[in-house]
Every structure is written in C-alpha cells, then in structure tokens.
Point group: C4
Chain length 331, copies 4
C-alpha cells in the first residue's frame, strides 16, 4: 500500500489500531460537527493562483518565537501516544527533531517529560499544561518542563471539563493497565482525568507568568474578544484551536476563527492554528490567512500508528512536499 497522502495514514490507523484507541483519537464531541467542520472549512477556501513567477527556489523555513523550524508545521499536543506506538511520545520527539520542527508535548503523555526530553536532546519542544486544582502540581510541572529544556509553555484554555465524546463513553475508554499518565503520577491519581480547575480565569495567566521565564502560548482561542484578552494578559503566542472538535461541538472551524483572531491581534503576538490540516495546501491557506505556523494533531498519531518515528516523519515529509508544491503552483 503506497502512502501517498495523509488519508492513507488515516485509513491505515483505522484498520490496524485497536478500536478503542482509534475511537479515542478520532472522537469529536457530541455529533462531531465541529471536528468535521475543521476540515470542510478548508475546502471552502479558494486560491487565486498567480502565474509566471520565479518559483525555482523557495524558502519554506520559518521562526516561531525566535526558533527556526524547517517548515511551518509543528506537532500539536495530543495524549497517550503509546496507544498508537509502543515508544509513545519518545518516538514523536525523535521524529520532530529529525524533521527539525516543534513538538508540543501533552501533559497527558504516556512518557514523562524528562523521558521525552532525553529521547531527542536538542529538539525544539514546548510543554502543554492545564491549571490543576492542586496548584502545586501545576507549579511542579512548570519547573520540570523548564528543567528538561522545553522552550515554551502552552496553556490549554478550553478544557474546564472534558467534552462529551460519545464513543469514549460507550467504550468506557480508559488507558490499558500498563500505560500511565506519567507526568502526573507523582502528584496525584488521575484515573478520573479531570482534577482540572474549572474556576481558572484570565488572572491565572499572571500566576503562571510568575512561575516561569518561558514564553506562554495560550491554546483554544476562537474569538476576537478572547484574542484581545490574551494579548492584554501578556501571552507570547495564541493557538487558535477547538481541541480538534473534542470539546464544545458546533463552535467555529479553526480556519474560520483564525481570520478574526489575526485581525484582533494585529501582529502583537504570534498566532498559530491547529485542527483540520490534511494537505500541504491547507498549510498554505492558514499562512495566507495570517498564521505563523500550523500544528497537526490526529495526522501525527496516524503516522505513529503506521511506523512510529519513521511513520510520523513520512507524514511530515508529505506535508512539506505538498506545501512546497502548493506554494509554487499558487505563485
């Protein structure tokens, strides 16, 4: 089976992953409308291709928060990579480093952030975190991320409670016994998955800021109002995201929300977007609409499920090639 485009990896993962793992990765909230809209919204955007421009040499490198990456596609935070591949997040870290791009490791990793760091020294990595009821736990994670060389903190803002993903409820989803949410093991028991603090507000950004010198990127912004608040509270970056359509269903597609966020931000901080990227031309659209870089979630998991580190590199390489070709053809 030739792996020609990202859908091929999706088909592979659907076929070979255990149903409970596939369902967990694929899940969207409620009717999965937003999950699917993320993709459909890209299809509604049309290029105006220009001709006869010199496209013999193109530079697709970019910088995010000052660090160069080889092309504007990073890896979004997703949980439980061992469900996709035995080495889990360690493979992810290696693939990201090999492709010279940024990997945002999730709090809900099945490896510790120290293990992730050790697996691919020198790679560009950010750490994704929530604010827990037990603030000491959050503080401890920040310290560990700093100590392990992570270069940014991504605060997820859209998960005061976990969204309702019907298939996970039906499957009674839980990690197999031999996997652990290792980052939280020391701090507390996390089977329930939500010792998160639903009372978090914008002021808690100041608290987080007080703990660290790392840049803070906020993830989950979908409106101009919240974008303005994010800038005013001093974040360094915004990821326009709806959590892959896994939280509130029937909100906007991220590529649609990107437009208003970029407009509100007026260049004061960097804006990124995740959700629905399936082709190199999607990346080009996101950049044309003002994103500095995009992040992929599920496609990275499909790559892992295919061949671990190598499969994820395949996914990234396909996106890179498609992106470069789209740029050339669009002039």
């Amino acid at each position: 089976m030739a792996m020609v485009c990202l859908s091929d990896f999706e088909a592979y993962a659907k076929k070979y992953l255990p149903k409970i793992a596939w369902d967990y990765f694929a899940a969207g909230a409620d009717d999965c409308t937003t999950r699917d809209e993320n993709i459909l919204a890209y299809k509604r955007i049309r290029f105006r291709p220009r001709m006869l421009r010199d496209v013999s040499v193109m530079d697709i490198r970019t910088k995010i928060l000052g660090s160069e990456i080889s092309f504007p596609v990073g890896i979004a935070p997703t949980g439980f990579h061992q469900l996709a591949w035995p080495d889990g997040e360690k493979s992810t870290a290696r693939a990201a480093r090999a492709m010279n791009t940024c990997y945002i490791a999730s709090t809900y990793s099945t490896c510790t952030l120290e293990e992730i760091s050790a697996a691919a020294p020198g790679g560009l990595r950010w750490f994704q975190l929530y604010i827990h009821r037990n603030r000491a736990a959050s503080q401890q994670l920040v310290r560990r991320a700093e100590a392990s060389g992570f270069q940014g903190l991504v605060l997820t803002a859209d998960l005061p409670y976990t969204g309702k993903r019907r298939d996970d409820v039906r499957n009674g989803f839980r990690l197999p016994p031999h996997m652990k949410v290792k980052n939280l093991e020391r701090a507390f028991e996390v089977c329930k998955m939500s010792p998160l603090d639903a009372s978090v507000t914008w002021n808690d950004i100041y608290w987080l800021r007080s703990l660290t010198r790392l840049p803070i990127i906020i993830k989950g912004i979908l409106t101009r109002e919240d974008a303005e608040l994010a800038v005013r509270h001093g974040v360094q970056g915004i990821i326009v995201s709806n959590h892959g359509g896994r939280q509130l269903d029937e909100g906007p597609a991220t590529i649609d929300a990107l437009v208003e966020v970029v407009e509100a931000v007026r260049g004061r901080v960097e804006v990124y977007v995740d959700g629905g990227i399936r082709k190199g031309s999607d990346v080009l659209k996101a950049l044309a609409l003002g994103a500095k870089c995009v992040f992929i979630g599920r496609p990275a998991l499909w790559g892992l499920a295919y061949k671990g580190e190598e499969g994820l590199q395949d996914v990234l390489r396909i996106l890179q090639d498609e992106f470069r070709l789209s740029m050339a053809l669009a002039g």
Copy 2:
C-alpha cells in the same frame, strides 16, 4: 446498549415500539420537511465560545411564570403516552416531578387529568387544550384542570384541522381498543379526533380568559405578527412551535421563528420554544436566542418507551448534564 445521548433512545423506540405507534409519534406532515428542519436549523447555529471564565459553579435553575424548575427543559404536550408505556401519562408526571420540571399534559392523554394529578401530587403541570365546537366541553376541561391543581393553560393554536401525516393515513392509525382519550370521554365521542372548532379567532382568548384565573400560554406562534397579537390579547406566555412539524409542512423551523417572536415580544411575556431539541447545546442555543425555557416532545416519548418513568428521567438527566457542560465549555 449504553444510552449515551438522545439518539440512542430514538433508536431504541424505533426498534421496540409497534410500528403503528412509532409511526404516529415520528410522523410529520406531508414530506416531513419542517419536522426535519426543526433539527437541521439548530445545527446551522454556531457558538462563539469564550475561554477562561470561572465555570466551577453554575446555576441552571430557572423560573417559568414564577415557578422554579431545576433546569430550563420541560415536557411538551404530546398525545397517547400509553402507546409508549403502559402507565402512560402517569409515568410522565412522575418523571417530571422527580426531575423538578414542568409537564404540559395534553388533552389527548390516555389518562384523565385527575389521574395525572394524583400520580404525582405537587408537581408543576400545565394543561394543554383546544377550543372545541362544543364550548361546554372546553369549559369543563378548564374547570377540571383548575380543580386538579394545574397551574397554567396551554392553548394550541395551530390545529384547526389535523395535518396530513401520510404514514398515519397508510396505517389507518387509531388507538387500540383498550386505550381511550379519557379526558373527553364524558363530553363526547372522539374517535374522529377533530370536533375542534376551526372558526376560533383571537377573540376567543377573551372567552377563555373569562373562564379561569390560570395563566394562559399560547402554543403554535411562528411570526412576529401573531406574537404581537398574542401579547395584545393578554396571554402570559408564548410557545414558539410548529407542532413538531405535524401540521403545516414547509413553515419555518421553530428556532428560526423564535428570533423574530422574541424581538416582537420585547420581554412583555415569557417566550418558550419546542421542536428539534436533541442535545444540551440546543437548549443553550434556544436560551441564547431569547427563550426562557424549552420543551421536548418526541424525546420524552422515547424515554417513556425505553423504561417508562425511569427512562424519561434518563432523557432529562442527559439533557441536563449536556446543557451544563455546554454552558461551561461555551464560557
């Protein structure tokens, strides 16, 4: 089979109810366009979710015409509950009381309103009525509703004649011999189902008002013009409704009509809506567009068909949980 969302109850009811009963409950007029539009119109409405608000404590109680209910979802009037569950409307009344919400009992109940009342003393209930050619019959029903402790009268305005529901015609739908439209037994024979007065006009509201001290809620309003007339004729509440798409086909979806009705009413009376509510987020959308409370029709029948009183409570509890979660996630 896990009952995770309302569609699960629908699937159950479709599988286990006798076809003639399922068809009767599911029926829409003509091509069922409006019945289906009621649902589709909700899907077209998008949230603008806000982040980082303190959603650790939320109060989802509300008041309708001065009575508190535990969350803004009541039970719309639908007929013939014994087709769904042996105890019929008595089970409905008990479930509504257990969940502390409002139940609008239909004239076309298979229990008398006295039986309904006795089944769940103290529950908040309104009584739905038509104006019959035989006005004495209507008057008698009003007296009985008052005497049985019903706290509101819901006048159905959209049924001068019964809509054309093709499957019911094909099935030759009629109640099985052991069920009766008990509320009307004393007054007249109702096999034909329409001794209703097609000559009723707005002035008859005054006649109804003269019979009772109970608040009058008018059900079936879909335009700003009729909303204005309703307010001017002194009703206390309006239910935006198209009878579940069972009367005139190809009118507006109720959630679309709600907007113009709310605008026309300008807060002078309470406005409710029924039709198409299938998820907690639908409730949130209706409230965001100005409804004080929503009412569910078919989903209540699916709950009954599943496990009677208990099944209906399941349905209401799912809606309540989903509604609370949507509120939290939408900020």
Copy 3:
C-alpha cells in the same frame, strides 16, 4: 397499496407503465436539472403561517378567463395519453369535467379534439397548439378547436425544436403502431414530430389573433422581458412554463420565474404556472406568488396510468384536499 399522495401515483406509474412510456413521460432535457429544479424550488419556499383565523369555511373556487373552476388546479397539455390509458384523452376530459376544472388538450393527443369534446360535453377546455410550417394546418386546427367548443387557445412558445431527452433517444421512442397523432393525420404525416416553424416570432401572435375570437394564452414564458412582450402583443393569459424541463435544460424553475413575470405583468393579464406541482401546498405557494391557477402535467398522467378517468380524479381530489388543508393551516 393506499394512494395517499401524488408520489404514490408516480411510483405506481413507474412500476406498471411500459418502460418506453414511463421514460417518455418522465424525460427531461439533457441532465434533467430543470425538471428536478421545478420541484426543488418549491421546497425552498417557506410559509409564514398565521394562527387563530376563522378557517371553518373556505371558498377555493376561482375563475380563469371568466370561467369558474372548482379549485385552482387545471390539467396542462401533455401528449399521447393513450400511452398511459387505453381511452387516452377522452378519459382525461371526463375526469376534468367531473372535477369541474380546466383541461388543456395537446395538439399531440392520441384522440382528435372532436373526440375529446364529444367525450365530455360541457367541460371547460382549452386547446394547445404550435405554429406549423404549414400555416394552413395551424389554421385548420384553430377552426376545429372553435367548432368543438374549446374556449381558449394555448400557444406553446418554447418548442421551435424538440429538446434533447436522452432516454427517448436511447429508446428510439416512437408511438406504437396503433396510436396516432390524430389531430394532425389529415394535415400531414408527423412521425418526425417537428414540422414546426422555428421562424415564428411575436408578430405571429397577430396572425393567430386574426384567425379566431378565442382568448390566446401563451405558454413557455420565463422572463419579465417576454412577459412584457406577451402583454403588448395582446395575449389574454400567460402560462409560466419550461415544458416540464423537457426543452432547454438549466433555465429557471417555473415557480422562481413566476415572481418576475407576475411583477412585470402587473395584473394586466392572468398568469398561470405549471411544472413541479406535487402537493396542495405547492398550489398555495404559487397562488401566494401571484398565479391565478396552476396546471399539472406528469401527475395527471400518473393518475391516468393508475385507473384512467377515476385515477386522475383521485389525483385531483388529493390535491384539492391538500390545498384546502394548507390554506386552513397557513391561516
């Protein structure tokens, strides 16, 4: 099998007619886009239903060109009724008279207009004609229509050449040997079906006017410009029609074209519409948009195919009942 709505007759006809006959009646030009649009366009129109109006007594009679019909649905000209029922147009004429409505007999009938006339003396009938290259033939038909008591002449304007109906080409459609286009037998041989004059222009209306005292109704108008020309050339009525989508594909649906024609005509002549009427509510929509009356084409043929005269009466009666009910429910 209960015949509840017009689709039931369609299903019956599709099942029991010879394929070649079904295909001929069902055919649309090219991709059948316009044929199907005629129906879809009705579905896009929404009612704004009004409540609490006295609908106990409703008068659905109307007058077209001064003649009363029992309800605003007539029978559009379609060819070759013997393909649907042995008695052909004689049955059509009887059904129309029984229901007290207008029947427009086609030039391409399988009975002569004298036979049609004799079959149902006293019925309201118009005669549809083309202008033939052989003008004497046309003139002769006008004389015969007058002599046989037809009360209007319907000039078809949209068939300078026959549209391309793929299935008819594939089937090599032609009348079975025992059927004849009897109206034209005396004048000339018509196997080729198109000795029509493609050079006809508006001025030929004057020529037609000079031949007869009967009112002239022009059929096939779809634009305001042509509506204005029709009025200026002295016709008494306009049928907005696209020949059931059998001529030019991808023109407008008739119900959409009706709006601009009615606006252009400003009441100077009566405007009718055919194409896509499948329910009583479609009739109501057409009237609400300015049509004086609608005409049905294929549904009449389905009725004939079902049970001849009786089947067509069934079709008309269903439309009548549905129309009356829609009026009542829409207020």
Copy 4:
C-alpha cells in the same frame, strides 16, 4: 450502446481503457476538488431563455485569431494520445480537420509535430509548449512548429512543477515502453517529465516573442491581475484554464474565473476557456460570459478511446448539435 451524450463516451473509456491510462486522463490534483468544480460551476449558471425569436437559421461559425472554425469548440492540449488510440495525435488531427475546428497539439504528444501535421494537411492547428531549462530545446520546438504549419503557439503557464495526482503516484504512472514523447526525443531524455524551467517569468514572453512571428496564446490564467499582465506583455490570446484541475487544487473553476478575466481584458485580446465542458449548453454559457471559443480536453480523449478519429468526430458532432439546439431554445 447508444452514444447520446458525452457521458456515454466517458463511461465507455472508463470501461475499456487500461486502468493506468484511464487514471492518468481522469486524474486531478490532490482531492480533485477543482477538477470537479470545473463541471459543477457550469451547473450553477442559469439561462434566461427568450421565446418567439426566429431561430430557423443560425450561424454557429466563429473566427479565432482570424481563422474560421465551424463552431466554437476546439481541442485543448492533452498528452499521450496513443494511450487512448493507437494512431494517437494523428487521429486527433484528422478528426479536428474533418470537423473544421482547431486542434492544439501538446508538447507531450506521442507523435512528432511533423507527423501530426502530415496526418491532416491544411487543418488549423496551434502548438502547445513549455519553456524548458534548456532554452535551445524550446527554441527548436518553436522553429519546428512554424515549419510544420502550426498557426499559433500556446504557452502553458501553470506547470512550473507537475501537480500531485495521487492515482498516478500510486500507479507509478509512466508511458509504456513502445510510446515516446517524440517531440522531445531529439533534445533530451524526458522520463522525469519535468526539465521545465520553474524560474520562468513574464519577461520570458518577450524572449518567446523574439523567436517567432506566430501569435502567442497564454494558457493557465485565472485572475484579473494575470490577465492584465498577459495583455501588457503582448500575447494575442488567453486561455482561462486550470489544467483540468491537475495542477493546483482548490483554485477557481474556469467558468468562474472567465468572468473576471474577460472583464479585465476588455476586448483587447481574445479569451478562450477550457475545463468542464460536457454539453452544448456549457459552450453557450461560456460564450455568453465572454469566451470567443472553448476547448475540450478529456472528452476528446474519450472520443479517441471509443473509435479514434471517428469517435472524436462523434464527440464534436454531439457538442455541435447540442450547442445549436441550446442556442435555438435559449432564443
């Protein structure tokens, strides 16, 4: 099997061509969105048909760059005709001459341009070319085209690199050993298919102009900005084209782009369009929107696949008949 419309030829070709050849001809870039949009966009355009105009005599001839063709449909450049029919481009040339229309021979022909020319002396032909890294190769092709009697040069502007056609990648598409890209054999080895120069800019038009007295037509323009540039750089004609949706996916449909190009050009040069033409009415739409002539790509290949020269004539004849009929019926 009756060949009634172009879809019949498509079905035939799909059935009888080797999969690898069918896939190559059918391929679109990425998700094939633009390939399909080319067709769908025509369906969204509606006629406003006018009646009672004298359509007994119609002249459908036209002139492109001064040469008369029998009707406004030419043959767009497509590669590798021997994949469809043994005689390849020689058959194409003969069919075009027989129908008295223009054939644009592709650089990627499986016959040399001299062979094409010799196969149908006197036919109107243009030659399509790219600008190669090896400019001498391009220059040589221009000379040969002139010498062989081609009357125009069509410069393809939208292929700095080949688009990503997934099926071709999966199939490992390459020409069978016995076929050659004969035009390029003398100049260089072309298995890689892209010794094209991606650094070409508008200024290279001047270079091309310096080589030849033939008119230059630029193919692949989709925006008003590029149309203006094309005119300013002295081309004689513009073909609005997206390479059949085989290059950049999710650009505009050509019939949509035509409108803005025609507006920008304001009659200064001739504008043509290709992509999505499947019926005679599509031709009429393109002309109504300002195209001087249209070109067909895949339908020509289907015709070849059906019966070579004869099959392609069938395709052209059907389009001609449909075009004439559409003109008559649209008035």
